[in-house]
Symmetry: D2
Subunit: 274 residues, 4 copies
């Protein structure tokens, strides 16, 4: 439905991953290879952190490939942690408030997938959102509802637990309405320091999700690539679809797992909604 | 906050009222004389009926004064009953789904004013909307919530009663949250045959609302205006602010009243929420 | 680069060809089969005639597939002669003034293809445009320049001759700048009564162009299709790519030819620039 | 017609001047006090320099007051030299390519005013633009034509001389076409190090233009303003209309003068086209 990318590491110009690369995110907006739709032209958004400030977001309803402002910003802004998302709507309106990443305080959130039969369950799901969070909802997507549910369940304190609760609640609600496989998702969320990347679906056949290989391993594989030397060892990219064709560069996140990109050792853990 | 216009009568090109007239609606978008804001540049919408079909709507987030498509459509489309609205946002996002008129089946709805402290009461108001209507909400305005509440209360069968109930419910909810004057509104709604135009506010100091004078009276006053001869006797315009300066052309709708423009005699009735 | 469609015949809702049909124009905007690009998401335009009035146009920079206003208009407007175009930019800016069809007085013009090395020859081509026409140029495409050149060469009096001169001039100018194959085009132009559809390229390997089969022949082939009975015998569609898969419905316009859809017998003539 | 602002000095968040200030540029977009039009809602642009890189620009056709991306960027980007412009179109299309500032290499350019009877003289003016510059023209404004003429006359080597030649040429051309007062302008242009700000009109009754007072003088006047201490002595703002009402903060640029904001002593010189 959508394509997304999350970066953490040495500060780089966002254009390095959004524009310049072979199979960059903009390239994927025109012809994705692994997505459920080949064209992802219903808007895009980027969110970035700089100098310890709250995240900034730029969101547009134009196709990423023909937006000049996006190219200017991506060329002008360097960031050690940023997210970008290109959208292929599954029905909700094309408007900035439906464009990912969503933001709440220091947190960003983006999603590829869907809650099935969302119109039927929307109200019941939204009723569970905390009162003080409900007023912040601006759009009409299932993805934003998932974000506010996760926040209600404590995303800011226990991200993995909160997303597990959120998914459990969505599945329970869907099943009450006879939806066989209520949820399909890859999700990335961050507080500006750590990135959590989830891969899950009720049918256990989730959309693709990849981590970049640890840089020291990649340098050993490709000693010819000088540019890899400039990046810190901790640099990681999480993507719904690989950028470029570099052999050995990408590892798939296993079904029903969450990857955690953080200072120090990264982690990969089973994900069990409940 | 906004300016609007509703027309019923002999089919005319929409541009006659939206574009060409001195103090036309487009002119008011740049410098309104009676509005709460002088600039109404946060989008506009038109809704029209033709040949017994369901209403069509054109909605845009661009300022009305610089939208070329609006001028093309207004020049190309003749209609016996249409509505137009120019928006000055009171805070909710600038997006097509927040642009009036709103549509449900054969009904159109538009609003000038606000529900005060809407973020506080939004959830409680939306909970009262019927299940099957809730899924049709696409935007985030107080105005759309008022429409779906009125539909819940039976707008399609008893428009005046349903709007009275809706306003009563908004006032009751607001007061529970210590809002002194919960609602301020002029509203127009139509099923394509009759137009209901409401003027009401909790503080009994409502935004302006005007009806055009009955055409036979206007012709007697201005025998020099040949163009009046071409319109049927039943032709009426309801506006938040007069178009042009023709003396004797406009009558103010009294505070807490509803005007009903319909085949046969028009009506003006007291409006008592409850 | 682009996809387009021109219709002439019994008045029909524009949505019949733009939206509803299998492989409708909107469908082609997402995944064209025969185009140089599969995605045509850089804006779209429609131009239509009604009741002997000058043509109206609606032009947008959004992708056709996600524009709600387009669907409303296409559902609301019936026309006996209309054109629609979906754009895939070859470099010039995404802005309404670059969206086809272009209009001058009662004439509409749209183009698929390109003038090669246009930046090099643009100035020389534009110098040849008549003074009083030059001031009407609003965009920056090669296509609009071709239109104003054709108008300069007498499009309104001798359409085929004027387009032949225009192409001859573009080829001559290109060759002076060592461009091997200066022009590639399918073009449709109309005065509201007749449609001229050109297929030509300097390399004699032009983009596809199809005419719908004469209706009486099509009815004989498909007696089961009741809807064909409602259309007048003179109904014709010209398209860059067939709509639907109905066997026998489409004939290709031969290389270097112009088709003329007009009251009475249609014509197909060789096209020789010079 | 428009309002603009140019800043040079200690790096500051752009929002300080665009958003936060009383009578900020965004505030002026809704109700300008000194402009030829009170509403400047036909798009806006910002251009900024950072770290010795070429300038970046962000341009939008939405009104500045309701564009969320502008607020995000203005909050996120610090710059020692930037320009911002809000547009009120005098007729040419509302499209990004007509939004100021215009950019060529390291240069930015913006304009308030107009070339009178521009459609009549456009072609003759554009013919004088150097061949290799002509291909870079993307929009249709008089302002962009003035920029490319100035570049043709050597803007990059002798800015004042080039603008004098440009204005002289525009006046000469206008007079050949019997235009009494061919040009009205305030212009700002920069190479990222120096800002040149011109105030001129053929009728010697030019739009307003102001320089901020030298900071040491301002500090002496307002010792209570702590924030002034944080800015370098060389900090200057040039504006078409003062920001805020601080007494002693603004000096008017005299009629037919150019102000030069540069490292070291700033300059104010007579401006004589010819």
């Amino acid at each position: 439905m959508c394509r997304w990318l999350a970066y953490s590491g040495s500060p780089i110009r966002m254009e390095e991953l959004l524009v310049k690369r072979d199979r960059s995110l903009i390239d994927q907006s025109l012809h994705s290879r692994l997505g459920a739709t080949t064209t992802n032209g219903d808007g895009f958004g980027v969110g970035w952190y700089e100098d310890g400030e709250p995240p900034r977001v730029y969101r547009s309803t134009h196709p990423a490939w023909n937006d000049r402002n996006l190219k200017e910003l991506a060329a002008g802004i360097s960031s050690p942690l940023f997210m970008a998302h290109i959208r292929a709507s599954t029905g909700s309106a094309i408007q900035e408030t439906n464009v990912h990443p969503f933001r709440h305080g220091r947190w960003l959130w983006m999603h590829n997938g869907l809650i099935r039969e969302y119109p039927q369950v929307r109200r019941e799901l939204q009723l569970r959102i905390a009162d003080d969070l409900y007023t912040s909802i601006e759009g009409t997507t299932d993805s934003e509802t998932m974000f506010y549910l996760a926040l209600t369940f404590g995303l800011e304190h226990d991200p993995v637990g909160a997303v597990e609760q959120m998914v459990g609640f969505v599945e329970e609600t869907g099943r009450k309405h006879d939806v066989e496989h209520p949820i399909q998702m890859t999700i990335a969320t961050t507080n500006g320091e750590t990135i959590w990347a989830f891969r899950y679906s009720s049918e256990h056949d989730s959309r693709s999700l990849f981590f970049s290989t640890a840089l020291d391993a990649l340098r050993a594989l490709h000693p010819e690539l000088v540019e890899l030397g400039a990046l810190s060892d901790e640099t990681r990219v999480v993507v719904s679809e690989p950028l470029g064709d570099l052999s050995g560069a990408w590892n798939e996140v296993p079904e029903s797992h969450v990857g955690i990109v953080q200072p120090g050792e990264d982690e990969l853990r089973p994900f069990s909604p409940g």
